[in-house]
């Protein structure tokens, strides 16, 4: 890193004063906040000049984020910085030295200490591990501006080599990995976090994190940063829009994409930079920014190579409005009213619109929209990440929330109506229990074609003998009472069946009479018999009249004779009560003999 100027709380105060209106309007700045800033500045000043502007933000506990995302890695950073990092970590790549010069002026006007250095363009790569590091791109003559203009901090020079996002942001998070993919989808807008970004992703779920901004007055610098970032982003969007949609698109290729895409646009972007006049968003004290994802910020960053011509300076101008009224328009552009509070999901769509702006110079409103979106994007990194991954084909599409909640797929509207029992923790388990129930419906489908159990007896297949013919088979079957239903001489097949009326008893017991009884008795030498009728008790099994259907097929082939047989019991309703394969040895032997002209043996 180039020379770094440690910031002190005093310097911060100075910058605030320079801003003037901000501090006054805001009123008394809380000391605590100031102190915070001061401390932050001091700490970081030693290390990262760029980062110094850290926002007094409450970082989310590290555990909440997936560390995959470099940005989200809360542990690495100071808590204070995390927010700043997320929100602010925007890397702006400026091309051309002259541009830089302009920028500097503006910056100076506002902040007074910002220095822009021309360096190599920064490319942020996302590592599998989730850490983003800036890789250097070979973009000729490009200047990477690290936008992390902290209040009072100097922008710092970008290293010629790859710059690590951490350093830049101070939080160790580089914004921008997310959007990298964008190049592929040239025309699409990165900006729309919600949908536009990853069209393929399906439902994008954005988790909102909450970042508390300090009092406006106090946190002035921080706010400034945020706003400026937002502005920058918005501008970037507009620009991209007008020229080539750099941002959108996520694809595996995107990762590997060198900064090249970004480079191409340099000319255009540069041209636009002027338009970059920054609008100040009106910041309302105590407002909460809903953070969504860092990734977006990243986008604007080096990775995409879309230099976001952010006029840091102008941003600072507009920044501080106490009343929530837009302070001013930076660079003579329209002042945009973008109360941070307004950030909401709705804003995302606003982002879309913003993206649609044909010209970067477009009115501030659009940009603001973009900015809002950005701010929103700051917080929740996980989902976007997940989505990005999925879009690249590596991750799973399922949003984090769905993972453990089987009811999640039920629309919220319906889910709300479910009784508590179906929503609670226990109910979750119960829902899982339903899974086997649902699957049980199809459990009976066989995996292979079923065969007879037991297999046909060996006696049911014998080599053809001289006497064996289709005619003898038919004769033998008819002799046993079978009714021939079908024959095919060419194939040597005869199919016959035999039906007998029988009783069907449900319990496998022989049929028993249900009614009636016989009484024998006598008195005084007289003997009498009689029949009494009564209703039997419920003990006796229920017996129905049924039909026993016996089906036989005999195939007299050129070499072998085959017999197969089955028996079905059909009750009087026509329902099959029993069905079994009956290619047993006794029947086949008898048939074999009959076909051979030998009389069936007498059965005792």
């Amino acid at each position: 890193m180039p020379s770094s100027r440690p910031l002190t709380s005093e310097r911060h105060l100075e910058s605030h004063q320079a801003l003037g209106a901000v501090g006054q309007k805001l009123g008394a700045a809380r000391e605590s906040v100031v102190e915070r800033h001061g401390t932050i500045g001091q700490r970081e000043g030693g290390r990262d000049p760029l980062v110094e502007g850290g926002l007094p933000a409450r970082c989310q506990p590290p555990g909440q984020y997936h560390n995959r995302h470099a940005v989200s890695a809360g542990q690495a950073c100071h808590t204070h910085r995390c927010l700043a990092g997320k929100a602010l970590a925007v890397e702006l790549a400026l091309a051309g030295d002259h541009q830089v010069g302009i920028r500097q002026q503006s910056l100076d006007a506002d902040l007074g200490h910002h220095q822009f250095d021309a360096g190599s363009q920064l490319g942020a790569e996302k590592r599998p591990g989730g850490e983003a590091h800036a890789s250097r791109c070979a973009g000729p003559g490009q200047v990477a501006m690290l936008l992390a203009q902290c209040r009072g901090g100097d922008v710092g020079e970008a290293r010629q080599g790859g710059i690590e996002a951490r350093h830049l942001l101070g939080c160790g998070t580089l914004l921008g990995t997310e959007y990298r993919a964008g190049a592929t989808l040239a025309q699409q807008r990165v900006v729309d976090v919600h949908r536009g970004l990853y069209p393929q992703a399906g439902q994008a779920r954005v988790e909102t994190g909450e970042v508390e901004l300090g009092e406006v007055g106090e946190g002035g610098a921080a706010l400034r940063q945020l706003t400026s970032l937002a502005v920058a982003q918005s501008r970037a969007e507009g620009r991209q829009h007008s020229r080539t949609g750099v941002i959108g698109g996520a694809s595996a290729e995107g990762e590997k994409q060198p900064v090249g895409t970004g480079v191409k646009r340099l000319a255009n972007q540069l041209a636009d930079t002027e338009g970059g006049a920054v609008q100040g968003g009106a910041l309302v004290g105590r407002q909460r920014l809903q953070a969504t994802d860092l990734g977006q910020l990243h986008i604007s960053g080096a990775t995409l190579g879309m230099p976001s011509p952010v006029g840091p300076g102008p941003a600072s101008q507009g920044i501080m409005d106490v009343g929530g009224t837009p302070l001013g328009a930076g660079g003579g552009k329209k002042g945009v009213e973008a109360p941070l509070a307004a950030i909401g999901q709705g804003t995302f769509q606003g982002l879309d619109i913003a993206a649609g702006a044909p010209r970067p110079d477009g009115d501030g409103a659009r940009r603001i929209g973009g900015g809002q979106g950005i701010l929103e994007a700051v917080g929740a990194d996980e989902d976007l990440h997940g989505r990005a991954h999925s879009s690249q084909g590596r991750g799973s599409l399922s949003p984090a929330g769905v993972r453990q909640n089987p009811v999640a797929f039920i629309p919220a509207r319906i889910r709300r109506r479910l009784p508590e029992t179906f929503r609670g923790e226990r109910a979750m388990r119960a829902w899982w229990l339903l899974l086997p129930v649902a699957l049980a419906g199809c459990q009976l489908t066989p995996a292979t074609l079923p065969e007879a159990q037991p297999a046909p007896s060996a006696e049911c297949r014998w080599p053809v003998e001289p006497d064996d013919s289709l005619a003898s088979a038919v004769t033998a079957l008819e002799a046993q009472g079978f009714l021939v239903r079908h024959t095919d001489v060419a194939l040597g097949l005869v199919s016959a069946e035999l039906a007998r009326t029988t009783f069907h008893h449900h319990h496998g017991i022989d049929p028993l009479p249900r009614l009636g009884g016989f009484v024998l008795g006598g008195t005084g030498g007289r003997l009498a018999t009689g029949v009494t009728l009564g209703i039997g008790g419920g003990i006796s099994p229920v017996v129905d009249e049924a039909t026993r259907l016996e089906r036989v097929s005999v195939m007299v082939g050129s070499q072998q004779v085959r017999v197969s047989r089955d028996i079905r019991l059909v009750d009087w309703r026509g329902e099959v009560r029993e069905a079994r394969s009956a290619s047993d040895a006794a029947f086949c032997k008898a048939l074999h003999r009959a076909m051979a002209g030998m009389p069936a043996p007498e059965t005792p």
């Binding site: 339903l434 007879a452 159990q453 046909p456 060419a490 089906r551």
Partner: protein, 141 residues
């Protein structure tokens, strides 16, 4: 609450079978005449305990049933493949030198297995068809 639970379970259970994909016949192309194919298939099915209810070599049809609850069935349809009908009828045998000598043709076999009248997934027929092909190869030799 209990009632809701029961309803939910019932619906879930029913849903399990509601999504059975409509099965399509399993189709195989065999290097044997339809009649030979039918003959071999019939032997195979009878060895597995199936009762042949209907078979016609001329029509190329075969229906077999297995009396095992809830009742299974197999239906075969065989047609000549790649030859116009007149070839099969011997009207233009000279056009086909490759097959004419042994009166052997190619046949297109489509098989459907049913369970209680509803078609089963075609995959269940793979073992049977594998055996059929192996047996046909033997028959040819």
């Amino acid at each position: 609450m209990m009632r809701h639970l029961l309803i939910a379970m019932l619906l879930a259970g029913l849903a399990g079978c509601a999504t059975l994909p409509p099965s399509e016949p399993r189709e195989v192309r065999l290097a044997a005449s339809p009649e030979t194919t039918l003959r071999v298939a019939m032997a195979l099915l009878m060895d597995r305990g199936y009762v042949i209810r209907y078979a016609d070599g001329e029509l190329g049809r075969l229906d077999a049933v297995l009396a095992r609850m809830p009742g299974y069935g197999v239906s075969l349809r065989v047609v000549y493949e790649g030859q116009p009908r007149r070839v099969r009828e011997g009207l233009a045998q000279d056009e086909d030198d490759n097959h004419a000598p042994r009166q052997r043709g190619h046949s297109q076999l489509s098989v459907v297995a049913t369970r209680r009248g509803r078609a089963l997934p075609p995959a269940v027929l793979d073992p049977l068809l594998t055996d059929l092909q192996a047996r046909l190869a033997d028959v040819r030799d």
